[in-house]
């Protein structure tokens, strides 16, 4: 989506956009100890999140983790069993959905089948009894924004999936809500269109300066679009952080495993001194050294991302740490990356190593059943205690 010149200036601002680090900043949306029960089932379990104005915030988790319920409580379709939800200081509990200054883009799009594209987009504005001329102008603006002007008089069933998605987006943006809620907005699109639309959504959010809250189970989508991600599991909030932090500093085994691929080495802390921990891992029969601090005797997991593990047939350089010997078990060539699954010597542990294919051909290609060395730096891994 083309940006207007004046609004391009928002770009650099966003780069340093981190209101959640500013203790003086007042969040726009606050979930305070929100609990939602359906009978015996606890869908949302004591969740507190602060979301700031102009943030692109993602709720991420597997299906049934409570992320959609949390969003529906903000939209007003469900009321929390206990806890408070405030928007710009106003308590939302008890306010019906049609009086909340938030709009939602539904997973199924929920376009009104008996109305044209134009009428769908105008629907929200007509409820506010805006002057006719203003409604027309705004509908036009919205259709231009989502590049659907030529389809204004079509009915939803005459549009493609991607076009319907745009109508749904235009309709939910037409009222200029304080917060736009997106419930798995791109789930029905194919991969390529989905990726394109992700970038369009980001541009749109910057251009309009709105707060977006997206619900998704697709970790890549959350990483792409969001300023911050809240990872949920079984109704509980597991970690809230920026995509980079979530990936590099997962708070627990669950987050580490849910976002991207990871090698988890179960180990016991043998010694801890000077910011360096020595770990003894019975799992692979090796000793690791990792950056961090832990009390000796504690059992931890050393989490290392595959791309931070090096691999070679030749012995590693003399200063290499955390070296394991092994045998190539499987190779997946993905074009940009090659993933090696290496079976560690004298154990059942499979170590996942990924390597960027920066050269078009290898001088010494690694093949199946090759004896290889894998190693990683002490600061490559994260110590996880839970």
């Amino acid at each position: 989506m083309a940006l207007k010149p004046a609004q391009k200036a928002l770009g650099p601002i966003r780069r340093s956009f981190a209101p959640w680090l500013d203790p003086a900043a007042v969040p726009l949306i606050r979930f305070e100890n929100v609990v939602k029960r359906f009978g015996d089932f606890t869908a949302v379990d004591d969740v507190s999140i602060d979301i700031h104005a102009r943030e692109f915030f993602a709720l991420l988790g597997p299906s049934g983790c409570g992320k959609t319920t949390l969003m529906r409580m903000l939209a007003g379709f469900e009321e929390p069993t206990s806890g408070r939800i405030t928007l710009a200081g106003q308590d939302l509990v008890g306010v019906p959905p049609y009086r909340r200054p938030v709009n939602m883009m539904f997973q199924s799009y929920a376009l009104f089948p008996h109305m044209s594209v134009e009428q769908n987009v105008a629907f929200g504005l007509k409820q506010d009894k805006l002057p006719k001329a203003e409604i027309e102008a705004r509908v036009k603006e919205m259709l231009r924004l989502v590049k659907l002007e030529p389809f204004a008089s079509r009915k939803p069933h005459q549009l493609s999936g991607g076009q319907r998605q745009r109508v749904a987006l235009a309709r939910s943006l037409a009222k200029r809500p304080k917060v736009l809620l997106l419930d798995e907005p791109l789930g029905a699109l194919d991969k390529k269109l989905r990726e394109e639309t992700q970038f369009e959504l980001m541009d749109l959010q910057m251009e309009l300066g709105l707060t977006f809250l997206i619900v998704t189970h697709d970790q890549e989508e959350a990483m792409t679009v969001a300023d911050r991600i809240a990872v949920m599991n079984h109704g509980k909030l597991v970690q809230v952080a920026t995509p980079g932090e979530i990936y590099e500093q997962p708070s627990c085994r669950y987050v580490a495993g849910f976002i991207g691929d990871i090698n988890l080495f179960e180990a016991e802390v043998a010694a801890s001194a000077g910011g360096l921990v020595t770990l003894k891992s019975d799992e692979v029969g090796a000793t690791f050294s990792a950056a961090g601090e832990a009390s000796p005797g504690a059992s931890v997991a050393l989490a290392v991302r595959p791309e931070k593990v090096r691999i070679s047939i030749d012995p590693p350089p003399a200063d290499a740490t955390n070296v394991l010997k092994g045998e190539v078990w499987d190779i997946a060539y993905l074009g940009d990356w090659t993933v090696f699954l290496v079976k560690a010597e004298n154990s059942e542990k499979i170590v996942r190593v990924s390597r960027a294919n920066v050269m078009r051909s290898e001088t010494q290609p690694i093949a199946w059943d090759d004896k290889v060395h894998v190693w990683f730096a002490p600061d490559a891994g994260v110590l996880l205690t839970s």
Binding site: A75, P96, P97, N103, A110, L111, P113, Q127, R171
Partner: protein, 310 residues
């Protein structure tokens, strides 16, 4: 439309397919078109005191001359009678009026019923549907007779109202148009409820959520979303009630008394009391035209809309 050059699906010969299509057409031809043409022919005949009570009769024994005499003996005189005697025009108009009012009343009662059924918990719905269809298990005639017992001056309704003290004199509902309305609404209610239920049940709840999200309170969303999307059910239900109601005979005859003028009753008396088959046939043919034309136009419009969707 089937494309003539399109290959037929494996296992069905073009003849097999034609046969399958031919069966319903044959059925219509034998059981609808043939009797209709007989009625049409009688409507162009003249009444005589004979067996059968009309002429000319086709006498094939006289060969070509017989066919010629038969053809020249036909005329549209009976249709002229329908417009000369104001009884017939009045009957038609009264029928249309009563059917229209009854259809609207039925819609008014059936819509909330169908809506409640469609919103009921899933497990209840078959039971509620059953309850709607249940009256069909008894003969219409018996059910209409039962209404006499309810509506007559000494009937259940009056007894109850007198007992509660709401009225001091019995209400005379029997043998009025009100009784006919009650009878028609009662008898045709399932025909309205079922198509309405079918279209309301399909309604996607997220559409109502979307409407609420965009600022439409529930009562407004009902008019903006639910009603327009249930229109196909409304139209189907109205046709199913209106068409038989126009030609209704049993209900006005039993409940409406002599005061109620309906084309079904006029046709009955023309046929059985007056023994004027040609005029009653003309009444039937004209009734068919009055009903078929709007339906054909509606179907045409709808077919075009469906075509546009494809």
């Amino acid at each position: 439309m089937t494309d003539a050059s399109a290959p037929t699906p494996a296992g069905t010969s073009p003849w097999g397919r034609r046969l399958v299509i031919a069966i319903p057409y044959l059925w219509l031809l034998v059981f609808f078109l043939a009797p209709f043409f007989i009625v049409l022919k009688i409507s162009f005949s003249d009444t005589v005191i004979a067996q059968p009570p009309y002429e000319p009769l086709l006498d094939l024994a006289q060969g070509w001359q017989g066919i010629k005499d038969w053809w020249t003996g036909l005329d549209a005189e009976n249709y002229g009678i329908l417009f000369e005697d104001e009884l017939y025009v009045a009957s038609y108009l009264s029928s249309l009026r009563i059917a229209t009012i009854s259809t609207l009343l039925t819609l008014l009662i059936a819509y909330p019923m169908a809506y409640a059924m469609a919103r009921a918990p899933k497990g209840w719905r078959p039971l509620l549907l059953m309850a709607v269809i249940l009256p069909f298990w008894t003969s219409l005639l018996i059910r209409v007779y039962a209404w006499i017992g309810i509506l007559s001056p000494e009937g259940l309704l009056n007894a109850f109202l007198l007992w509660t003290g709401i009225i001091s004199e019995p209400l005379y509902i029997m043998n009025t148009e009100t009784a006919v309305f009650i009878g028609i609404v009662y008898s045709y209610l399932p025909f309205m409820v079922l198509p309405l239920y079918a279209s309301l049940e399909k309604l996607d709840d997220t559409l109502l959520e979307a409407a609420a999200d965009l600022g439409s309170p529930p009562w407004k969303a009902f008019w903006q979303i639910t009603v327009p999307l249930s229109l196909p059910g409304v139209v189907a239900g109205c046709f199913l009630v209106f068409i038989p109601a126009v030609g209704e005979f049993v209900i006005p005859d039993l409940l409406g008394g002599s005061e109620t003028l309906m084309i079904g009753k006029t046709l009955y008396s023309e046929f059985f009391s007056n023994r004027d088959w040609p005029v009653s046939s003309a009444i039937a043919v004209l009734l068919l035209l009055v009903l078929v034309l709007p339906i054909a136009i509606y179907n045409n419009v709808q077919a075009r809309e469906v075509g546009a969707k494809k």
